[in-house]
C-alpha cells in the first residue's frame, strides 16, 4: 500500500496520482504501456469531473483487473463483448458516462462484430483500444494486429500473411463507417505522444458528454514480456516499427 506523502516545505506538487484511481497497484508487467494508458483514462475522468457518473467495462485480457484500479462503477464483460455490454448500460441509463477498455484480441478478433456494430450504430460510448499486437495474458499468441514477420508463440517463424492473414487495421475499417464520431490512433512511447494521447482520450469522453456518439481511441502499446524486449526497447519498437505500420493520427473526426 502507498502512504500519503507529506508535501516537502517550499515545494508544490505538480504531478500526483489521479483521484479516479484506487490505491490498488496495477497488475501489468513492468514497463507495459497499459499502465500509462490506464492512468490517462483516470486523469481524463478527473479533469472532466465525471467520476460519480462513469461506468467502465473491464475486458478479458491483461486489463481484466481494471475494476480494481478505478474508483468508479465497473462491469466485467466477457471476451469481446464490451461494446455490447456498454450499449446495454448506455441505453438503459443515458445519463451515465460509459467507457470500454479493450485489447486487440478482445476488440479486433473475438469482439469484431460487437465493435463494428456499436460503431456503426454511433453508440454514444467511449472506447479505449489498447493495441500491442499480441495476446499478452494468455502467453504471447498471434493477435489480429500482429505485424507481418513478427514472432509469437503461435507464429514461431513469424507471421506469414498468406497463411496467417494480414494485420487487421480495425481503426481504418471503422473510420469508413458513417456511425462513429471520432476514430484516432495514438501512442504513449514518449512524453509528447503521451500528451497527445491524453488529449485524444479527453476528446473521446467529451464527445460522449456532448452526445456526439461513438468515439474510439486506439493506442499502440507494448508487451515487453511477450515481445521478449526490455521496456525501453519495446517503446522504441513502437516508435520505429509499429507506428510505421499503424500510422498515428486522427482517422475520422466529425468535429
Amino acid at each position: 500500500m502507498s502512504v500519503e506523502l507529506a508535501i516537502p516545505r517550499g515545494y508544490t506538487r505538480v504531478f500526483s496520482r489521479p483521484a479516479a484511481l484506487s490505491e490498488a497497484g496495477f497488475t501489468y508487467c513492468p514497463g507495459c504501456h497499459h499502465g500509462i494508458i490506464t492512468r490517462l483514462v483516470a486523469e481524463a475522468i478527473d479533469e472532466l469531473g465525471i467520476l460519480e457518473r462513469t461506468v467502465g467495462i473491464a475486458p478479458v485480457g491483461c486489463a481484466v483487473f481494471l475494476d480494481r484500479f478505478f474508483n468508479c462503477d465497473f462491469v466485467q464483460a466477457a471476451h469481446g463483448r464490451a461494446c455490447a455490454v456498454a450499449t446495454g448500460i448506455k441505453r438503459a441509463r443515458p445519463d451515465l458516462v460509459v467507457f470500454t477498455y479493450q485489447g486487440d484480441g478482445d476488440l479486433a478478433a473475438i469482439g469484431t462484430a460487437e465493435t463494428v456494430h456499436a460503431a456503426n450504430r454511433g453508440e454514444n460510448i467511449t472506447v479505449i483500444f489498447v493495441n500491442n499486437g499480441i495476446y499478452g495474458m494468455t502467453g504471447g499468441e498471434m493477435a489480429p494486429t500482429t505485424l507481418p514477420g513478427q514472432r509469437t508463440v503461435t507464429t514461431p517463424r513469424g507471421r506469414e500473411p498468406r497463411s496467417h492473414g494480414y494485420p487487421l487495421k480495425i481503426s481504418e475499417m471503422l473510420a469508413q463507417l458513417d456511425g462513429p464520431a471520432y476514430i484516432t490512433r495514438q501512442a504513449v512511447f514518449d512524453y509528447p505522444h503521451i500528451v497527445k494521447a491524453k488529449r485524444a482520450i479527453l476528446k473521446a469522453f467529451r464527445n460522449q458528454l456532448e452526445g456526439k456518439g461513438f468515439s474510439l481511441v486506439e493506442i499502440l502499446s507494448t508487451c515487453p514480456t511477450n515481445w521478449r524486449m526490455s521496456p525501453v526497447e519495446a517503446g522504441r519498437w513502437v516508435a520505429e516499427e509499429v507506428s510505421r505500420f499503424y500510422p498515428l493520427g486522427d482517422l475520422k473526426d466529425t468535429g
Binding site: E52, Q76, A78, R81, V85, G88, A92, L96, A113
Partner: protein, 350 residues
C-alpha cells in the same frame, strides 16, 4: 377482467411491457418473430428501449449491461439463438443479474426446423452454458398462462437475482387465445437495486463481475449461488395436477405437451381409464417432491415429451424406482395427437 384475443408471442411481449420492461434486445429468428415485431412497435411508445442487435451474442450481452445498470430487461429467441446466448447467460448467472429470457423452442439439433419441439429442456434446466448455475425456468401451456408467467419471471428473477427463462415453443407463440392481461406494474413496486452500476455517487463503487482468480473467492461466489438455488427449490416449485386423486397412471408433461396431455386425461376418463396428469410449471425448480408423492400410489408414471426423453430423466430421479416410468416422445417437430398418446396410455391402464 377484460380479455383480449392475442397470439402467444404478442401476449408475452405485452405482459413484459406491463411488468415494467425497460430494455429489450433481440435478434430475429422464427418462431418468435411476432414478439420482436410487437416490441419494436410498442416498447418505444411506452418509454422503453427496443434494440435489434447484430447477433444473439450481442443481444444477451446488451441484456447483461442493462441488467447491470439496474433496469428490467429481456431478450427472446428460439433454440439456435438461445445456444448462442449461453456464454452471456453464464456470465449473467454468476454476476447475479436479474433478467428474463424467452425461448420459443423449435426442432433441433442444428438448424432443425421451426416446428414445436422440447429439445432444449437440458439446456434450459441444467445450466446450458459453462459452470454450476441454474435458471428459473417457467413453462406455459397456454397463451394466458404465458402472459401470467412473464410477470412471475420478472418478479422471481428480481427477488433471487437469478435469470429467468420462459420456455415455450412455436405452438404457444403463434396460437391465439383470450388473455386477461395483468395491470401495469407500478415502477415503485419494482425492487430497488442497490448493487447496480448507476454511478458511484454518495456510495462506494459497485462492481458487477463473474470472476475471481482466487479459488477461495470463486468458491464463495459459487456458494452464494448454490444457497440461492436451494432457497428457490424450497419456495418456488410450481405445478398443476389434473385428476390425480384416483389416478393409476400418472402422465407428466409440460408446455404444449402438457396441454395435449390434458385432453388425453379427459378422453381417458371418458373411457373410464383412471389417468391423471402432473404438469410442471417450473421446470427448474423441478417438482420432484409432488411427482415422488404420486409415484407412491400410481402403477406407472408416463412421461410424454417432444424430445427423446430429457425431462424423463428428472421424472425418473423423482420416482427413484417406486414405480414403472415409461416414456413416449416425438422428435423433429412432430406433435402427436391426443389419440396417439391415448394408445400409449392404454398400454398401462385398463
Amino acid at each position: 377482467m377484460k380479455r383480449v384475443l392475442m397470439r402467444g408471442n404478442e401476449a408475452i411481449a405485452e405482459a413484459a411491457i406491463r411488468s415494467g420492461l425497460k430494455c429489450y434486445f433481440c435478434y430475429p429468428i422464427t418462431p418468435q418473430g411476432e414478439l420482436v415485431e410487437y416490441m419494436a412497435r410498442e416498447l418505444p411508445k411506452r418509454g422503453g428501449v427496443f434494440l435489434q442487435a447484430e447477433s444473439e451474442v450481442a443481444a444477451i450481452n446488451m441484456v447483461y449491461g442493462a441488467a447491470a445498470a439496474g433496469v428490467r430487461t429481456m431478450t427472446s429467441s428460439s433454440s439456435p439463438g438461445i445456444s448462442l446466448k449461453q456464454e452471456g447467460i453464464s456470465y449473467i448467472a454468476m454476476a447475479r443479474l436479474p433478467c428474463v429470457i424467452v425461448n420459443m423452442m423449435r426442432g433441433g439439433p442444428g438448424l432443425g426446423n421451426i416446428a414445436p419441439a422440447q429439445g432444449d429442456y437440458f439446456q434450459a434446466t441444467k445450466g446450458g452454458g459453462h459452470g454450476d448455475y441454474r435458471l428459473i425456468v417457467l413453462a406455459p401451456s397456454s397463451v394466458p398462462e404465458a402472459a401470467e408467467l412473464v410477470g412471475l419471471a420478472f418478479d422471481l428473477s428480481d427477488r433471487y437475482r437469478v435469470p429467468a427463462m420462459i420456455l415455450a415453443d412455436g405452438m404457444i407463440g403463434q396460437m391465439m387465445e383470450p388473455v386477461a392481461l395483468p395491470e401495469p406494474v407500478d415502477p415503485a413496486e419494482i425492487p430497488p437495486r442497490p448493487w447496480a452500476v448507476t454511478g458511484a455517487k454518495g456510495r462506494p463503487k459497485n462492481v458487477i463481475s463473474s470472476f475471481d482468480l482466487e479459488p477461495e473467492g470463486l468458491r464463495r461466489m459459487n456458494l452464494v449461488l448454490q444457497e440461492t438455488y436451494r432457497e428457490i427449490e424450497r419456495n418456488e416449485v410450481r405445478w398443476e395436477e389434473v385428476e390425480t386423486e384416483d389416478a393409476e397412471l400418472l402422465l407428466v408433461a409440460y408446455g404444449t405437451m402438457g396441454r395435449i396431455a390434458k385432453t388425453v386425461v379427459r378422453l381417458a376418463r371418458e373411457e373410464g381409464l383412471p389417468v391423471g396428469l402432473l404438469r410442471p410449471i417450473t421446470l427448474w425448480p423441478f417438482p420432484y417432491g409432488p411427482i415422488r408423492a404420486l409415484a407412491e400410489r400410481v402403477k406407472a408414471v408416463l412421461t410424454v415429451e417432444l424430445s427423446a426423453g430429457q425431462m424423463w430423466e428428472d421424472v425418473r430421479l423423482a420416482v427413484e424406482g417406486r414405480t414403472e416410468t415409461p416414456f413416449y416422445g416425438e422428435l423433429g417437430g412432430v406433435v402427436p395427437s391426443p389419440g396417439r398418446i391415448l394408445e400409449e396410455v392404454r398400454r398401462y391402464v385398463r
